[in-house]
Symmetry: C2
Subunit: 340 residues, 2 copies
């Protein structure tokens, strides 16, 4: 053990709803020595990010939960103070995941060396790091904003949202940001160049969005889900794209929100896509070719539920919505001269 005292913040109890200070505890422990291929580093900057709420709640997520009594996880920038790894020298600055503590041992392979002459060290935890890549990749690869389209982003002054809006502007979109204070609204409009900022705490979101996005919404970059997503959905345009990146509105929830809980969509990087058959007329010939072949080979079976007489259409339709029909519901209005 080193004679350095390591200060750590550990998870004392799993928060219920909004975390309390008493869910955390500051402890002091001896600082461990690095083993072969490892380094010991002093934490300079610790990143705090909303995803940590999921890690300390212990529920299903995309990564293992933080155990009770353990140091809370987190990305860090630190300086090497002892090294048993040939690629790192004492004094080097590295990006690693020391978590909420002042010292930590880490394996050399998991580190990225930082050059403080290129950018402030802390930027690697934000605009040049995970939040920046989150903004960049989800906006450009899923949102795919085009020139002249309208992009809406929630939590718009945050680490991710501020970058999303600015990249969308660079790509030529009209950009609307949703924030929680007038200061933040002023900031995203006056400093960052968003076209419109909406303070969801003082403005009526639905009408403010309609005014801010008069041509509808093409991309909604969703950091929050919840009521903002509900309000955005009726205003989306044909073929809109919604990268679901965060569910800040639900992180502190003590019960499952009503309606479909979208958390699994995020965790599983799944997609829901609306479908209307009229968009797929170009597939009609493939369809007819394949289906006819499968019908003829017996791989595909087909059942009809035929109701006789136009006057019976209303009753049959009412039953259809109840699921009373069995097979494709057809009304035989007049005799079929070709039927056997």
């Amino acid at each position: 053990m080193s004679d350095l005292i390591n200060k750590q913040i550990i998870l004392k109890s799993r928060p219920v709803g909004e975390p309390k200070e008493s869910d955390f505890a500051l402890v002091e422990t001896p600082t461990p020595e690095p083993g072969e291929g490892e380094i010991l580093s002093r934490t300079i900057y610790l990143s705090l990010d909303p995803y940590m709420r999921g890690r300390i709640s212990g529920g299903q997520s995309y990564a293992a939960p933080v155990e009770l009594g353990s140091v809370i996880v987190g990305g860090t920038v630190s300086q090497v103070i002892k090294s048993n790894h040939p690629q790192f020298q004492v004094g080097d600055f590295v990006l690693n995941s020391n978590g909420w503590q002042t010292y930590a041992v880490s394996k050399g392979e998991t580190l990225r060396k930082l050059d403080p002459t290129q950018a402030p060290l802390s930027y690697s935890l934000g605009v040049l790091g995970m939040p920046g890549l989150t903004a960049y990749a989800a906006l450009l690869d899923i949102g795919q904003p085009k020139e002249g389209e309208t992009v809406v982003v929630s939590a718009a002054s945050g680490a991710v949202g501020a970058v999303v809006g600015q990249i969308a502007k660079i790509k030529g979109a009209r950009v609307v940001g949703i924030v929680g204070s007038d200061d933040k609204r002023d900031y995203i409009v006056k400093e960052l160049g968003f076209d419109v900022g909406i303070n969801r705490k003082t403005q009526e979101l639905d009408s403010a969005l309609k005014e801010a996005a008069p041509n509808g919404i093409d991309v909604y970059y969703d950091n929050t889900a919840g009521v903002i997503l509900e309000t955005v959905l009726p205003q989306i345009n044909l073929g809109a794209r919604i990268p679901l990146v965060g569910l800040i509105s639900e992180y502190n929830a003590t019960s499952t929100p009503p309606g479909p809980n979208l958390m699994p969509l995020l965790i599983k990087r799944a997609l829901i896509k609306g479908f209307l058959v009229s968009d797929y007329q170009h597939r009609f010939n493939d369809f007819l070719h394949d289906i006819t072949g499968w019908l003829q080979s017996g791989q595909l079976k087909y059942k009809e539920d035929v109701v006789v007489g136009l006057e019976n259409a209303p009753g049959a339709f009412i039953g259809l919505l109840r699921g009373d029909n069995f097979g494709k519901l057809i009304v035989k209005v007049n005799d079929d001269p070709t039927a056997a």
Copy 2:
């Protein structure tokens, strides 16, 4: 006018909740004469489909609503009885949209001629028509089932669902169908070859799905939304695909269901896709190149909210979830020797 009597079913009142017989009225009117380029046809088969519920409710949808007093829309197979169009002869069978009536005039350009020797005429309203194409294109182009994956489909014995499940079997997937009666469950398993059928009215859906899809759900072909979608979501696999094709559970709803209403996703053929930054490490170099350039050119601005001292991390984190921070939240744990 012809001397034929045309029987029509018109919309008498907009249904509230489940439609009633009294929302419809059967009327008799003279049959119109076809004009230049038009044909007059006698309806043989009328297709009844759930989408019609949206058309008679008069709300926002992807097509114009049926007006009060007007004939209800619908796809039909009919026989030409008068023709002023060179491509159609009296006696020809055509696919058109006569709606809920016994005769109609239609423009030749909107018709497809049917060959009754190839398949029963009524099939063009089902497996060889719009419902079949809906099953085929949404499953194959959005759902993209792969061999060995698990596909779940709701309303599984219906015109669309039955075709979906069988195509998924042809593509080598494990197929689970959700239906509303034991008869239908037996049918999809014993007649259509689904691996498992679930009667949602008598079985507990959550546990039945877990048993039927022990490896999780890769594709959920959603004809219903509502509680079935809610139950499916927690059981989806990484990268799952959910074509949202119908919202049968909501068509009769008199109030907006709780939680995000997914109707706009369907109407606008939009997509929601979950995002996790760890999937996008391959974009890191592009990201760093672009972001660094934008920072240097001043097109991208970046603000940090720095809290000093590890002991202040819990309070700062609690504030982050409330939105108290302004800019990327960073804890300065030790002095930064590179900072000015």
